[in-house]
Point group: C2
Chain length 633, copies 2
């Protein structure tokens, strides 16, 4: 069985390497394209290397603390963080190297540009998923099952910093650039005269690739680890949780090739998603007993439903977003209120669906069923992350072509980017849903490890724990949002200062791009520490003061509220974004209410790209830490 799994991973990695060689042979384009692409890469690497320093401190302190108890656990922890960091770093390099090639291809052909962007994404995704599977096999073989928790912990801790740090960076830069460029100076997006424009493009990479990648990597690893742990205690095969994701990895390659024929970009991406899900469902009925196969299918269905729900509430051609546009015609405030209300409504259905999945998969196969549903959902991760990286590359390509004044390339890149936005929104929903299911699986593992089959919330201590748990996602979101505001304020100040030199806006003098990157970097990194400490410390406080049962209730409260809040923020943000796009496409830009939709878009930015996604990590990490709390003490 193990050999089959390793063979799958080997095939996928081989394909990725060959594909990479093909892509590297493509032309990089004119000098100015290459120059800005280099600048983006340099900026992203500067940010990452400074972020690594912060992470290193946390890794050092925590690994010493773990090492005191158990050296093997410490090694697993370090391996988990190392694999996650490598996957992110590699993905980022692949993306920033190929945005130039995509731009260059886009000046000639839509299909060629799509292929470069999508297969770059797929290669990055295959590396990440393979690293996850290999890491689990390695640690599982070298050490005991419990060491896997520490592998997951390492991945989780890295994800915290990557997701939150990247999220704060990307939105501080984006908002700063928009407020000064689009609103104050009335110059277009991605205009080279704007000093914050490179920081903004860097942000797309550190937010959507290293941030999103580490998030999905962690969900992927943790859901498998939780399922293995439950499998062990119910005397089931420990390979079952590894089979479906490995199949998802391999299957994504032929499916991607097969659907390259479809012309429409949207349809192409969606077909890849859905065919992968169907194929994986069929396989699981061949491979597993019926009840388990149904759990896999439930997980896949939940993933698809959540995607559909996100699309319905956020797509710019559907009623909910159109109504935001209507409201904006009567005033900026109504635009915001309606968007908030729309986001709230959109969050309801995914939570109810997850509640149903819990009921059904528990009925089918007990706690193990819930874990297998999570794994089933995450077996889609290869295609989801591939299209996420694709989105970030095409977004960069659109930016670069505007920057280099390549009109034809800009048009095509925008078309590709627009399709990427839809899949990015779906991917975000998928990340939230999978984080929730993963956390529930981890919670089940926690309860087993703590030997607490009951969590009685009709008890004062436990209900207090639950209430405090519900609060934490609000605290975390508040800190993340404040960090974005303070970063954006600094960017606004700097850009206003640079614009005082009239030559910059006239296009006669190149602005100081690096200064903006520096400001955003240090602002994002300094805002990272407090939320990081909160997440790590809270489970210990609750566990020591109120006991293990209250800690379980605390986790339930956190999962419930964070999950809901994350969907609310992600979807509200995406619908604000698309309301703006609707106005740009179908209404006249000079209308008064264009400013209203821009304000909405900006409000939505940190909701959907900073605070919302950060919550995914929050709950998974707190669940893992609680698990360690039980094992270590």
């Amino acid at each position: 069985m193990l050999l089959v799994l390793l063979f799958f991973v080997f095939v996928a990695l081989l394909f990725a390497l060959i594909q990479l060689i093909f892509i590297v042979k493509k032309e990089k384009g004119a000098k100015d394209i290459q120059k800005i692409s280099k600048n983006i890469e340099k900026g992203a690497l500067t940010f990452l290397s400074r972020e690594y320093q912060v992470i290193a401190i946390f890794l050092l302190v925590i690994s010493i603390l773990i090492g005191i108890f158990n050296v093997r656990f410490m090694i697993s922890f370090l391996l988990g963080s190392f694999f996650s960091l490598s996957a992110g770093n590699l993905g980022m390099r692949i993306a920033t190297k190929n945005n130039a090639r995509t731009t260059n291809a886009a000046s000639k052909s839509l299909e060629e540009a799509f292929k470069i962007a999508y297969f770059s994404g797929l290669v990055a995704s295959i590396f990440a998923v393979s690293f996850g599977i290999l890491g689990i096999i390695l640690v599982g073989f070298l050490f005991e099952i419990k060491a896997l928790y520490f592998f997951a912990f390492g991945a989780s801790l890295v994800a915290l910093f990557m997701r939150v740090g990247g999220g704060i960076f990307t939105k501080s830069a984006d908002i700063g650039a928009d407020l000064t460029g689009k609103i104050e100076a009335k110059i277009p997006e991605d205009d080279p005269r704007n000093p914050a424009v490179i920081a903004d493009l860097v942000g797309d990479n550190v937010g959507d690739i290293t941030g999103m990648g580490s998030d999905l990597f962690e969900s992927f690893v943790s859901s498998i680890v939780a399922a293995i742990a439950i499998a062990v205690s119910f005397f089931k095969s420990i390979y079952t949780p590894l089979i479906i994701p490995s199949l998802g990895l391999v299957v994504s390659i032929p499916i991607s090739y097969f659907f390259m024929k479809i012309k429409d970009v949207h349809k192409k991406l969606l077909s890849i998603f859905i065919s992968t899900a169907i194929l994986l469902s069929l396989f699981s009925f061949f491979l597993f007993e019926k009840n388990l196969a149904w759990c896999v299918v439930l997980g896949l269905l939940a993933g698809i439903f959540i995607g559909w729900n996100t699309n319905y509430f956020t797509a710019f051609n559907l009623p909910p977003t159109k109504k935001i546009v209507e409201a904006s015609k009567k005033g900026t405030a109504l635009n915001i209120i309606y968007g908030i209300a729309n986001g709230m409504l959109s969050a309801i259905f995914p939570v109810v669906v997850i509640a149903l999945i819990i009921l059904l998969s528990f009925w089918l196969a007990g706690l193990y069923g819930i874990a297998i549903s999570a794994v089933g959902m995450l077996s889609l991760v290869t295609v989801v992350f591939a299209s996420d990286v694709y989105g970030s590359i095409t977004d960069n390509a659109a930016g670069i072509s505007e920057f280099c004044r390549l009109k034809e390339a800009r048009k095509r890149a925008e078309l590709l980017d627009e399709a990427g936005n839809t899949t990015a929104a779906i991917g975000k929903g998928f990340a939230i849903g999978s984080a929730a299911l993963t956390s529930l699986a981890l919670l089940a593992t926690y309860l087993m490890a703590a030997k607490k089959p009951f969590l009685n919330i009709a008890d004062a201590g436990n209900i207090a724990g639950l209430f405090i748990g519900v609060v934490i996602p609000f605290l975390f979101s508040s800190l993340a949002l404040k960090a974005v505001v303070s970063g954006a304020e600094k960017i606004v100040e700097n850009v206003r200062k640079q614009f005082k030199n009239a030559k910059i806006l006239q296009g006669k003098l190149e602005p100081d791009y690096e200064e903006c990157i520096k400001i955003t970097t240090s602002s994002a990194l300094s805002s990272l520490v407090l939320p990081g400490i909160v997440v790590i410390v809270m489970p210990f406080i609750i566990g020591f003061l109120l006991g293990k049962e209250a800690l379980g209730s605390f986790l339930v409260g956190s999962i419930a509220s964070s999950f809901l809040l994350a969907f609310f923020m992600a979807n509200a943000g995406a619908s604000f974004d698309n309301a703006k796009k609707y106005v740009e496409i179908f209404e006249k830009k000079k209308e008064k209410f264009y400013e209203a939709v821009i304000v909405g878009d900006t409000v939505g930015d940190p909701l959907k790209d900073t605070a919302g996604p950060s919550l995914n990590i929050l709950i998974k990490l707190m669940c893992i830490i609680s698990l360690l709390f039980v094992i270590l003490f």
Copy 2:
């Protein structure tokens, strides 16, 4: 004991009648003052009478359904709704009759105006609280203890419609008036040329008086009923839960007189609050055993802490709100994001404090302790509601004096109104906190009636129930916010249409005020039905499909999320409001960012006055319905 209680109520009512006679003798002022005051009263009564028709249908259907099971329960239910309706109606009449007197007094003396407004509020409050106590005694004597639940249910159902309907009315009118008046036509607030101005003033009354009044009335009644029910099953005196609130009623009168000497309006109101709390704490140590007295003190302390917390995060001269102003200087969107972040942060502390209160009061006296803490907190209700009505009267007085171009009166009325805003914000926090404690007490009663001493959320059905419970407040808020947007949109359309006649803006032609009142009324009432049905039906669905234990978990989830969301929305809204006030007072109105704070204020309006407060009713009502579900089936 009963006679002592009745004596207390009698004394308070007697005082209220005498005071009313005194107030009625005051001059009503010039004809134009009287005319607009009449208009406000007429508008409010029109809205109320149409709202009564909607309520009547619900009352009829539900009382028939209850009557099938038990006629005494049906009578109790009708009595509960009748007492609540009468208290609200009386309060509204007192307020709308005396806003003219307050305006007239304000043109001469600040103190005189304060006295009229405050004592009108106190009289209205005494009527409401007395009705509550008398109703409980009446039903408790006529029928059995269980009938009291139906009394509370009646009060709760009325509160739902009053709070939600009033909330939608007041903010649709307010936002519609602001968007067209302040932003589009650039005329001042409360300007008589604005067709929506009277609707806005009517809104203050139906939102803050009948809405807030019925909310507090319900909390008050339900917390006492829950405490009596628990007292009965633990063989404690059923009078204990009635004593402290009755004392609170009587004590408020001399304290109010005593502090009239203080000049500063803020200090005057705060001194009344705090002295009442101190006096009640002292009394409870004389009257009850030590542990119970501490529970009362804990409830009072929680009330005061929540007030302090609200004040800190929302007062315009303190750092959190000042930072919103700073953010607005860099862009409208940053203003909104920072306000949201501030609201989220502010919600954390009250929830943690309530968690502590649960722990401590349970430790002191078990479930009964939690119920007594709720009663203790609500014994402040007389002064809280009095200052709430005061705020609405002074707000109206400020509006009327602007309307009648009385400069001196306007200045004084604004001063009074400003102090009223602080106490209104504190009162809102108090209403949320007391709703949470009341719901917990009701939940405890539910668990006793359902004979479920355990709520195991490590069970698939129960965790599913909890997740769905967490979702409901988001659904409810979304519906409320959408209703406000659609009402405001209609007002904007109507005002834009009226403004097409240039004579209106020139002040040569009186606009059609009534049309705006009609539009808001029908919009508010038609939006009322769906959320009403959701609240009533949900507990039955969960109870039938998932069972009584899952219903308990559902309630816990709802209480936790609604409570947090309510604080978030109330405080975010209040801080947006005060950021705008800060700019109006300390910065130049013509600054660019003035528009940013107006947008923030408008976004905050339905959060703090519609969606936020509606959640109070939501959770109390769902708890009561679940209780009935257990008793009736």
